[in-house]
């Protein structure tokens, strides 16, 4: 980790000094324990702010959308998956971005840590690779790093960057195939039960749009939610409007969602968006054999048209 930090700083300084990029987007220390925060470096002298640790969970690809600058970006597997899709969808020009790829061990969910350690006032966290050791100034507590990972990191199929210009750190071993076991139980429930569960989760939604705005693939200049002619979705918290919003969003991401989990992490209300998204991803994988973000050459399945499409999905129960 510290090694990665040094390498990221080094590469950033080099890219800026050589004038290859105008800006490098990476992470710096957050203002709170268990947090890192995106940072934007334009001066080689500022590279000392850059860090790499277990809390660099934001998907920085979000910041690349329709940028008119040459940008260097520190990118994990999931960030690069998003970049791949953004390039395909012409939101990012490959030649305008320099990817400092960082193989990822999975990012730690502060909520999990707090849950585990209870109400202590965490002041320090050490990531030993296998363990997380937290201190409140008086005592040290430790937990398995693996148990503290974000949900998206636990099922991540591509921790190493899919594409990169510079690779920082050792490649990590990829997990075995993702069989979508985490949504198997959900999928096995009846339609009514699934509906009830999702509706229950959505009832906490406050329509802050953080899921949308954190998503690297939600880049429409005018989101359907903000559209008034026609008014697809009411603006309030009527359950039907909330559900419509989330269901439409997930459908807009079908075949494009790279499962980075940014939406889940952004939600202030802990709404289980993960289940809905993962279920959609499972369908996309099954029906189209597609895992978005992994194949730069392959068009998104719902962005292709074949007049002879058998449309056999219509026959599914």
């Amino acid at each position: 980790m510290t090694d990665c930090t040094a390498r990221i700083r080094e590469e950033t300084a080099r890219l800026l000094a050589e004038g290859r990029v105008d800006l490098v987007i990476g992470f710096e220390e957050g203002s709170l324990p268990l947090r890192a925060t995106p940072c934007f470096i334009t001066e080689p002298g500022d590279t000392g702010r850059l860090i790499w640790n277990a809390f660099c969970s934001n998907n920085l690809a979000r910041y690349l959308i329709r940028s008119d600058r040459k940008v260097g970006i520190v990118a994990k597997g999931c960030d690069t998956r998003a970049i791949v899709e953004l390039i395909k969808e012409k939101q990012v020009r490959r030649e305008d971005v320099v990817i400092i790829g960082v193989p990822c061990h999975g990012m730690v969910d502060p909520h999990e840590v707090r849950e585990r350690f209870g109400d202590i006032r965490i002041q320090t966290v050490e990531d030993t690779g296998g363990k997380l050791v937290a201190g409140d100034g008086t005592a040290l507590l430790s937990m398995n790093r693996e148990d503290a990972l974000h949900r998206s990191c636990r099922v991540c199929v591509q921790r190493n960057p899919v594409i990169s210009d510079v690779l920082v750190g050792e490649e990590v071993e990829e997990r075995t195939r993702d069989e979508f076991t985490d949504v198997a139980d959900f999928a096995s429930r009846s339609a009514g039960e699934r509906w009830e569960y999702i509706a229950g989760e959505m009832s906490r939604c406050i329509r802050c749009n953080a899921c949308r705005n954190a998503c690297p693939l939600c880049y429409c200049s005018k989101c359907f939610v903000d559209e008034t002619r026609p008014q697809w979705v009411g603006r309030g918290t009527d359950p039907s409007d909330v559900l419509s919003f989330h269901l439409m969003r997930v459908l807009h991401l079908a075949g494009r969602c790279v499962e980075c989990g940014a939406c889940v992490r952004a939600c202030p209300m802990g709404v289980d968006l993960g289940t809905l998204n993962r279920r959609m991803s499972a369908d996309v994988a099954r029906m189209f054999g597609c895992r978005p973000g992994l194949d730069p050459g392959k068009p998104a399945p719902l962005s292709t048209f074949d007049p002879d499409d058998p449309q056999d999905f219509m026959l599914e129960p």
Partner: protein, 1011 residues
């Protein structure tokens, strides 16, 4: 019409697909057309087919729009129940006499409701369904027939008058008399089609005796959803589902023993495969299908793949054997006896389908006689390979199966080619006899409140017997913005149109909703009425309360009525939002660009020039001529060299044609009507050509063979090289003792899973030429299937008669060649195993000819990219629709012909080139290209520039503005299909007239019944 010019009208004889295509091409290019059909409706054979190969498109579904178009065309007069009785005059000024039998039903008044047939007491077998079902004395030929009206079969009608009393439209007139018409026309296109071979002539198959032995045409009806069993696969004897079906090929074709037919009907192999595949789909795969055949002739574009898929994936069994006899067992099943591997086998089938060929019947022969046309020995209209649509009579052109067996695309191309000939002949009289409709100026809407008129149709009792029209009318009257709700017995009738026009004026209606039948057939009619009423035609909306209410909920009148209200409420909700859509008109550059200076390109260029258009002909080689320079003569003995020279001369000397040899296309921009193409020569000098259409005739070439010692031993030649040598009279070749021709070298293999189509006939020609040169030569043809389709079959027969030995090899065990020393001479030893005899042959040859594949020319892919048109898997250009648009592309204004499209003979290239010229002329003779209307529109600020719409647009009407990162629609190319709108996540793409807002309004109102 100028007194000196020819008559600007054309008589088209025959209302099948050929006649329809010819009529549409001609009428659209400025000629008046009389389409004469013997039967009571146009549509021909295609109307009776179930699916079409190789795409398995529903035949009726692709034909129906053409029927409607033909029927509606202002400049096509369809004369059904009619027959030409005489043709007098000279080319350019004929007078045709047409005898029209009475229909007894007014086509203007009849709405096709079908109540008359319900009361008609006379029942007889329905000939359209091959007698497999019944019809009444008053009937309609088939469901989607045009004219849509019923007719009375006077031969069986008892004149009881029940129908006339029942008809609420008053359409029936039992006193209708025959009439004779005298029509001046400038040219005639004869395309009366063909008759299926009468299978009862082949006694040993028991057709006519055994109920479960049927013809392929009957089987099409059985498969058809509109057929006697509504698409359920049942056999005639007992209505049971068959489990084993056999097809017997070449019934009436390639048969000089039982009948004197020495030609191949060309289509039966592929249609049998299609029937087998479709039958298996119908039965859920629980069906054994066997095709008994001599050769499998799947020589058409995409057919070989179709065959391979049927054989390898779809479980269709192919047995190479001739059925010697059929017996019937007690259950009605059939025992087929046939030789197999030297023994006689017997197999039992539930149903036997005879793949009957195409023949000419007496009626066609008599008609030909009246026209003075020469017929060949089989009664087909005589034409020449190098003038394939010209008959023996100037001014009369032949198309379709009248001049020989053809499949649908060939018929369509022939029809267009014939149209091109007629058009060239009459080009000075274009637009002299055609009508153009004028409309009052459109009233501006001024943004006022929507004033919607709702017109509800009884459709006789078609709708009214189920739906409570009065309650629907009252309901509609109370809907928001509806200022008038009115019912009509037949909303589509002429007086109703007048009524609608009056109401628009009286009530200041600015939107019209018609609740009746389907917009597919009737929307244009009502839109026309709106235009006549001074309203933009898009201010119209239709609710289909017949199909979707009265028909599907026939037993539930309350629900049907409720649903009719729901549908009307939705329509009104949309109507409120509809806005007039402006139409823009763009000028057309009346020049064509023809790419490729081979026969196809030259023929096309000269046809266009003859039709009065300027042409730029671009050829990459230094001189014109292309592959034809190496053909020398056709099978029927025509002098190709002379033909090509003449053609080059005439093209070069034509002031309308500008020739650009030694150049290639470097850039293309623009769109239909207004292309700009850069033509670059070897020195890099670029010339810009402005043109309205482009025809790709970039040709093909022979593949270089792999193996067989080609390039190693000088005696191993491709067939093309062999032809050159024979023509040159090379003694090394003409004095050969043992000549071996190997077929399918590079075709029908894994790399090129298609048939090169021409090689079998060419092999016959060369074998016969070798024998001609040296009667002592032994010629061996090593083949897989002999595909001498059509009249070329006679050359196969002749080759056999002249002693050519045919040895069939297995593609898994191809012939081998090695050089062996014998008597101090190096001989080419060819070893092959004959499948029929099952033994190995070793031939010491001094000449080896290889039938190489025809492959697309090298620049095809680049050209495809420049014009944004597709290529198929084999690298040939992919037409818009393999059946009905064989020379068009989805991209408007670009056409294809010749080898660029697929392997074909020189004669076929000529036909296709003329067809392309005909289609291109349709664009060039227009005053302007209409743009706008129901087209896509991109809301710039909402567009995120992801490019999905541009990638998906099948018409290449959307481009990305890379600097703005926005999609841009070219309205001249957009067809309003809506693919962009449905794929656009940002909601930036919308189709005018079907906007998200309008659709949403309908959806919202659909769930708002409470109102």
């Amino acid at each position: 019409m100028t007194p000196s010019g020819p008559t600007g009208a054309v008589l088209v004889l025959g209302g099948g697909i050929s006649g329809i295509q010819a009529a549409l091409d001609l009428a659209d290019s400025g000629f008046r057309v009389y389409l004469v059909e013997r039967r009571s409706a146009i549509g021909g054979v295609m109307a009776g087919l179930d699916k079409t190969f190789p795409t398995n498109d529903c035949s009726m579904c692709i034909l129906s729009p053409k029927l409607v178009e033909c029927g509606r065309h202002l400049n096509i007069e369809v004369l059904t129940n009619s027959e030409l009785t005489a043709l007098e005059g000279v080319p350019g000024a004929f007078t045709a006499t047409i005898e029209q039998q009475p229909r007894f039903v007014s086509t203007e008044k009849c709405t096709g409701c079908g109540e008359c047939a319900k009361v008609c007491p006379v029942k007889l077998p329905d000939s359209f369904n091959m007698g497999l079902s019944d019809r009444k004395a008053i009937y309609r030929l088939y469901e989607q027939a045009y004219p849509h009206s019923y007719m009375i079969d006077s031969a069986v009608c008892r004149r009881c008058g029940l129908c006339a009393r029942k008809c609420s439209a008053g359409a029936i007139d039992l006193d209708m008399q025959p009439r004779t018409l005298s029509i001046p026309v400038g040219a005639v296109i004869a395309c009366p089609g063909f008759e299926p071979f009468d299978a009862s002539l082949i006694a040993n198959y028991g057709y006519g005796t055994f109920p479960n032995v049927i013809t392929s045409i009957e089987f099409e009806r059985i498969l058809s959803a509109s057929g006697p069993s509504r698409g359920r696969l049942l056999r005639p004897s007992d209505g049971k589902e068959p489990h084993r079906i056999a097809w017997i090929q070449c019934v009436g074709s390639r048969d000089i023993h039982r009948v004197d037919n020495n030609y191949c009907s060309s289509v039966c192999c592929t249609y049998a495969i299609k029937e087998a595949v479709v039958a298996r789909e119908h039965s859920g795969g629980n069906l054994e299908t066997t095709i008994f055949h001599i050769d499998i002739r799947t020589h058409g574009k995409g057919f070989e793949r179709y065959y391979e898929r049927a054989k390898n994936e779809q479980g269709v069994r192919f047995v190479r054997s001739e059925i010697s006899r059929i017996y019937q067992d007690g259950s009605g099943s059939l025992i087929l006896r046939f030789p197999e591997n030297g023994r006689i086998s017997e197999e039992v089938y539930d149903l036997v389908v005879l793949s009957v060929g195409m023949v000419q019947d007496r009626a066609n022969r008599e008609m030909a006689e009246r026209l003075g046309l020469h017929l060949d020995s089989h009664g087909f209209c005589e034409t020449r390979t190098l003038s394939p649509v010209e008959t023996s009579v100037p001014g009369i052109f032949a198309a379709g199966a009248f001049s020989g067996p053809k499949d649908i695309p060939e018929a369509v191309m022939g029809a267009s080619a014939a149209a091109a000939e007629a058009s060239a002949m009459l080009s000075h009289s274009r637009h002299t006899l055609t009508q153009r409709k004028s409309y009052p100026p459109e009233k501006p809407l001024l943004g006022g409140r929507p004033r919607i008129g709702v017109f509800i149709c009884h459709c006789g009792i078609n709708i009214a017997s189920v739906v409570d029209i009065a309650s629907v009318r009252d309901y509609a009257a109370g809907l928001p913005n509806v200022v008038l709700s009115e019912e009509a017995l037949f909303t589509c009738s002429q007086d109703s149109q007048r009524m609608i026009r009056e109401r628009v004026a009286e009530h200041r209606l600015n939107r019209v909703v018609v609740a009746a039948c389907t917009p597919r057939t009737h929307e244009p009619l009502f839109q026309e009425t709106l235009r006549e009423a001074g309203l933009n035609k898009h201010l119209f909306e239709m609710a289909n309360i017949r199909d979707q209410c009265a028909w599907v909920h026939q037993g539930e009148p309350e629900k049907a009525t409720q649903k009719a209200k729901d549908l009307i409420r939705m329509s009104v909700a949309r109507a409120k939002l509809i806005e007039p859509l402006p139409q823009a008109f763009l000028d057309v550059n009346r020049t064509a660009l023809v790419i490729g200076g081979g026969v196809a390109g030259m023929v096309c260029a000269s046809s266009l020039a003859d039709q009065g258009f300027g042409v730029h002909l671009v050829e990459s080689a230094a001189e014109l001529g292309g592959n034809a320079r190496r053909i020398h003569s056709t099978n029927d003995g025509a002098d190709v060299d002379a033909f090509v020279s003449r053609l080059v001369e005439s093209v070069s000397g034509n002031p309308s044609i500008t020739i650009h040899t030694g150049t290639h296309i470097s850039d293309v921009s623009g769109f239909v009507g207004n292309f700009r193409t850069m033509v670059e020569n070897a020195e890099g000098i670029v010339e810009e050509i402005s043109h309205g259409v482009a025809i790709i005739a970039s040709g093909g070439e022979a593949s270089k063979p792999d193996g067989y010692l080609y390039g190693v031993d000088p005696r191993v030649l491709t067939l093309q090289e062999l032809e050159d040598e024979i023509a040159r009279g090379n003694p090394d070749v003409t004095s050969s003792r043992n000549a071996v021709l190997v077929q399918c070298v590079g075709s029908r293999d894994e790399d090129r899973p298609y048939c090169s189509r021409t090689c079998c006939s060419k092999a016959m020609k060369l074998a016969l030429a070798l024998i001609e040169a040296n009667p002592l030569v032994n010629v061996y043809v090593l083949y897989r299937d002999i595909r001498t389709y059509g009249f070329d079959e006679q050359f196969y027969l002749e080759a056999r008669e002249r002693g050519v030995r045919f040895l069939q090899y297995d593609p898994g065990n191809r012939p081998t060649v090695e050089i062996v020393e014998q008597d101090g001479r190096k001989r080419l030893r060819v070893v092959t195993t004959d499948l029929v005899l099952g033994r190995e042959f070793s031939i010491d040859a001094d000449l080896l000819g290889l039938a190489t594949a025809t492959v697309p020319s090298a620049g095809a892919a680049e050209l495809a990219g420049l014009f944004k048109v597709p290529l198929n898997e084999d690298g040939f250009f992919m037409e818009a629709h393999i059946k009905l648009r064989p020379v068009d592309f989805p991209t408007e204004g670009v056409f294809v012909c010749g080898l660029a499209h697929s392997p074909k003979t020189i004669g076929e290239s000529i036909v296709q080139a003329k067809a392309a010229a005909s289609r291109a002329a349709l664009v060039l003779c227009r005053d302007s290209i209409e743009a706008g209307g129901t087209v896509s529109v991109i809301d710039g600020p909402k567009c995120s520039g992801c490019g999905v719409c541009a990638a998906l647009c099948p018409f290449k009407a959307i481009e990305m503005d890379e600097s703005e990162r926005k999609a841009v629609v070219n309205e001249a190319l957009c067809k309003g299909c809506g693919l962009c709108a449905s794929s656009c996540r940002c909601g930036a793409a919308d189709v005018k007239g079907f906007t998200d807002g309008e659709i949403c309004a309908m959806i919202c109102s659909s769930v708002a019944r409470g109102l």
